[in-house]
């Protein structure tokens, strides 16, 4: 059907054809002797209705619908312009419904849908130990080596990598701090990335003792080396070590999980940290192998997996994309469900609006039917109008989403790392929004359908007054209002449950008092410094910080509460059974003021004291959890433990000495607020022994409202101008950060619930207003017969209440089904919590009463005389 040839307009062509027909007819007649004018007239008469011929001929090509659609849209536009109040309300309502959908979908698109920017992204898998967390967790080096050697029939490339902190690049004109990632040679093949200059890391370079190599990211190559291709083969100094630049990565490469400036070889089996579970693993699946098959094959390897110190549940494989989404995935899906509910409410509201207006337009519709408009055409016209409304609502929603997106992406508390910039509106998002608009216009277009189908020409024209078909429309509007109440209730309950979760988390016993405490982090000045050097630095800083006016006390610690993990297998000295070893024992090297500064209660024995120096007997203070685990019902004081020993096995080359337990302190939360505190051992920083960290944390208690941060910075700068401070913030921030995920969910769901509530109350208000308007006559009679204003008030409010109650019953039932999906995000509250349901219902009923009150007041003010004349 090549009718649409370029340069050919079907309308013009048909017209030209008809014109040539007429011309020839006229010419024939003139040749036969007719006067030209007469010939023209007769020819036209003979031809018939030119417009009709044109139209029926064009219809052959099936363009009629297109033209009609244009007509319908123009007609819809005109009707909308005639009732701007209606149009604006409907469009704003829809924008409120569509905007959040677009915004959440944009995030989902960026995080869950858009494929990772690596070659064959669906074949990249994250591999690790399985524990409670769905995402595979890190392994230790022997486990990685084992997986690499034995995973050959599942994976093509098994890559290990691990954060390497920030390294100082010394250059002539100052220095630059580079974020480094240590990777094995399989890393780049697993991601399918090739160096654009030079080469990637080679397997030789991951052997201990080999010359140090470094691969540069495009960004750092341009920033620090001016994009010089001659940089390949050059030596650069990172911290104190000389590295050879071997390659530069392509500009579009970005390691999303942990954006890095440089990549250096990971040396498995080279350091004391090998037994720590801190090697992350990704692997490229063999072609044609599914994740399920990989999982099945891998489970056979678990039995032989070495160094299972932390007793995992097994091995785990997950698509890398899903692993990167991590905790964000369930939250996003819940929020997506919530905005879908919000959209339905908006649809119900607009449908109700359309019905209300249809009531007013019943006469117009009837007249148009009477003079021969097809019901189908009328329906199409109202659908076109609906579509126009939806389209403009979608445009509004899109604008709102675009405006809110930046804030939303920034507010996402999970680590979006390299993907924050990918949270943007792309074609897929546009299609999604357009689809939403079409979907919504169909939903509330059903309202129009009802109206057209129901309009009875005779009844409407005879009765001659709007609202003649009140009862049936009234029923639909009631159903819509009830649906709105029910849907908002489920959102409200969800928000209440998340709010309660947040409240519970904040109420958790932290084991320390974060008020008026500042937390600071300073990286070690060099790689692997000696303990003595760190401790001497720490002592000097502490002495000076404690001299700052406003500082009450200060202490150094390897990792401050809720800021991270640092664990080593530990056991009771001389007791090698499984009950007396614990793989994930958190170890903290602290200075003497630590417990006092954090106000962590010492429950038994003594804290770490200044006298616990390097030369003094080795001591440890343990937390309550560990005391109960190893010495239930007994005092652990005087017992001995060995850090770095597990089931009688020494994990380090130098045997670790036993330490005497001299005190028990209250449990301090580990990394997660909602989990019980992990078993923890505190040792004096002066006796730290094993070196596992690359930075010192500081906790500084100040007088209330004391501004000491500048003075602290000054102290550090005086000690060493090159010393960096990577964190300096109130300790309470750490707690906010720890619950940021729940805060985000609760805040957004609360926001959506509030919008839903507003829409639902508008819905109830609209229904009752119309109701009162339609019953003005009846109310007038009642009042003329002596009804009290209070009775009239009750009449209206009662109807609002009935709607709300019906909605509450249905909504509660729906919420029981829906909130199950929330249970994974809840803490300390059941998805069926009575308080949440009762609270949500109470709020809704209250709002419904408010919404009924205004129309009710209007009813009361009805003047019987006016009302009766109203007919």
């Amino acid at each position: 059907m090549a009718f649409w040839r370029p340069g050919r307009n079907p309308n013009d062509e048909i017209e030209a054809e008809i014109l040539s027909h007429l011309n020839m007819a006229v010419q024939d007649r003139v040749e036969r002797g007719e006067a030209p004018q007469q010939a023209d007239r007769s020819s036209r008469r003979e031809f018939g209705n030119v417009g009709l011929v044109k139209e029926t001929t064009r219809d052959v090509w099936g363009l009629r619908w297109l033209e009609d659609l244009g007509h319908d849209l123009r007609f819809g536009w005109r009707t909308l312009r005639r009732s701007p109040g209606f149009a604006i309300t409907a469009i704003l309502t829809l924008a409120l419904g569509i905007g959040p959908n677009t915004a959440i979908f944009t995030v989902i698109n960026a995080v869950l849908l858009r494929p990772l920017p690596y070659a064959g992204p669906q074949r990249i898998a994250k591999v690790g130990l399985r524990n409670e967390d769905p995402v595979p967790s890190d392994v230790n080096v022997p486990q990685f080596v084992y997986l690499r050697e034995h995973g050959g029939n599942v994976f093509e490339d098994v890559a290990g990598y691990s954060g390497a902190g920030t390294l100082q690049l010394k250059q002539r004109d100052g220095s630059d701090w580079l974020k480094a990632l240590a990777v094995t040679d399989e890393f780049f093949p697993a991601l399918g990335v090739n160096a654009i200059l030079g080469r990637e890391i080679s397997s030789d370079e991951t052997r201990p003792g080999s010359p140090l190599a470094v691969v540069l990211s495009d960004g750092i190559w341009r920033r620090a080396f001016g994009g010089d291709p001659g940089v390949i083969g050059k030596q650069i100094t990172l911290n104190t070590d000389a590295y050879t630049v071997v390659g530069v990565l392509p500009p579009d490469f970005d390691f999303i999980e942990q954006p890095s400036d440089i990549f250096i070889p990971l040396h498995p089996g080279h350091s004391i940290g090998d037994t720590g579970t801190n090697t992350r693993v990704i692997a490229r699946l063999k072609p044609g192998l599914s994740l399920k098959q990989a999982r099945a094959q891998l489970s056979g390897l678990y039995e032989q997996l070495p160094n299972k110190n932390v007793a995992p549940l097994g091995l785990s494989v997950m698509s890398y994309q899903q692993a990167l989404a991590g905790d964000l995935r369930p939250s996003l899906l819940i929020l997506f469900g919530a905005v879908a509910v919000l959209l339905l409410i908006a649809c119900a509201n607009v449908a109700s609006l359309i019905l209300t207006r249809a009531n007013g337009r019943a006469r117009e519709t009837a007249i148009r039917l009477a003079i021969g408009a097809g019901r189908g055409r009328l329906l199409r016209q109202s659908l076109a109008e609906s579509f126009l409304i939806a389209l403009m609502g979608a445009a509004g929603g899109l604008l709102a989403a675009a405006w809110a997106l930046h804030g939303l992406a920034a507010a996402i508390p999970w680590d979006l790392s390299g993907r924050a910039s990918s949270v943007r509106i792309d074609l897929r998002v546009l299609f999604f929004t357009l689809g939403t608009a079409i979907f919504t216009s169909l939903i509330f277009g059903l309202g129009s359908f009802w109206q057209t189908a129901r309009t009875s020409v005779i009844v409407t024209l005879k009765e001659g007054r709007p609202g003649a078909q009140g009862p049936s429309h009234g029923r639909i509007r009631n159903v819509l209002a009830i649906a709105e109440v029910a849907l908002s209730l489920s959102l409200l309950i969800g928000a209440a449950l998340l709010g309660e979760t947040l409240h519970n988390l904040y109420r958790e016993n932290l084991g320390f008092d974060p008020q008026n405490v500042i937390r600071m982090t300073t990286p070690y000045p060099v790689n692997n410094p000696s303990n003595a050097r760190i401790w001497s630095f720490e002592q000097q800083v502490l002495a000076r910080v404690q001299g700052i006016p406003g500082v009450l006390s200060a202490a150094a610690v390897t990792v401050s509460p809720l800021a991270g993990q640092s664990n080593l297998p530990t056991q009771v000295a001389g007791n090698d059974d499984a009950q007396h070893s614990y793989g994930g024992t958190e170890i903290r090297a602290i200075s003497s003021q630590y417990f006092g500064t954090l106000r962590t209660p010492v429950l038994e024995g003594r804290p770490i004291l200044e006298g616990d120096t390097a030369g003094a007997p080795l001591v440890a203070v343990i937390n309550q959890r560990l005391a109960h685990r190893w010495w239930p019902g007994k005092s652990p004081l005087g017992e001995h433990i060995v850090i770095g020993e597990f089931l009688g096995r020494q994990l380090f080359k130098e045997p670790q000495p036993p330490r005497e337990v001299v005190g028990v302190v209250a449990d301090v939360k580990g990394l997660v607020l909602g989990s019980p505190a992990p078993p923890m051992v505190y040792v004096p920083a002066a006796q730290a022994g094993l070196q596992m960290n690359d930075s010192t944390d500081w906790v500084i208690r100040t007088a209330p409202n004391a501004e000491v941060a500048p003075a602290i910075r000054e102290v550090i700068a005086q000690m060493d101008p090159g010393q960096r401070i990577t964190a300096l913030e109130p300790l309470s921030n750490v707690i906010h950060n720890a619950v940021s995920g729940q805060t985000f969910d609760a805040a957004l769901l609360g926001l959506f619930a509030a919008v839903a509530l507003a829409l639902a109350s508008i819905g109830i208000y609209a229904v009752l207003s119309l109701h009162v308007a339609q019953r003005t006559h009846e109310i007038g009679i009642r009042m003329a017969l002596g009804a009290e204003p209070r009775q009239v008030l009750r009449l209206v409010v009662r109807q609002g209440l009935v709607l709300a109650l019906a909605g509450v019953v249905i909504g509660s039932a729906a919420a029981l089904g829906l909130t199950r999906f929330l249970s994974g995000l809840l803490y300390g509250v059941q998805a069926t919590s009575f308080e949440a349901y009762a609270g949500g219902a109470a709020v809704l009923i209250f709002v419904a009463l408010l919404a009924s009150y205004i129309p009710a007041r209007r009813a009361v003010r009805v003047d019987p005389l006016v009302a009766l004349r109203h007919e």
Binding site: S20, H21, M24, R45, V53, T57, V60
Partner: protein, 122 residues
């Protein structure tokens, strides 16, 4: 030349589908424009068959859409630009099948209008 009055008197409504047949048949003698086709049908039927333009042009376009005829703008004998239609190969096939259908139909109708002796006697 016929007046409006006798045109209606002499006019015979074309049976559904026969116009297509007539158009295809007319084009067997060579490409023609719409006006020419209508004139030819009228002339060849001794002025009895009047083709209504409201049927002719939709029919022409329908046939073109079916690719039984193809069109081209050309200049006519009397120096008018006009859209000429010509029969395509598949149009010729279609014409053959429509002709045989027409033959069957007229035979069947003739059978009903002029029944055999037996039936009349019975």
């Amino acid at each position: 030349m016929s007046t409006a009055k006798d045109r209606y008197q002499n006019r015979i409504e074309l049976l559904q589908g026969t116009l297509d047949l007539l158009i295809l048949q007319t084009l067997v003698w060579g490409p023609r424009h719409g006006y020419g086709i209508s004139q030819m049908i009228r002339a060849n039927s001794a002025e009895i068959l009047q083709v209504d333009t409201g049927s002719l042009y939709p029919a022409l376009h329908r046939l073109e859409k079916q690719r039984w005829i193809a069109s081209e703008w050309k200049v006519s004998d009397n120096n008018q630009r006009a859209k000429f239609y010509r029969l395509t190969a598949s149009g010729r096939k279609q014409l053959a099948s429509e002709r045989s259908r027409w033959a069957q139909l007229s035979e069947a109708i003739a059978g009903i209008l002029h029944p055999g002796k037996q039936e009349t006697e019975a």
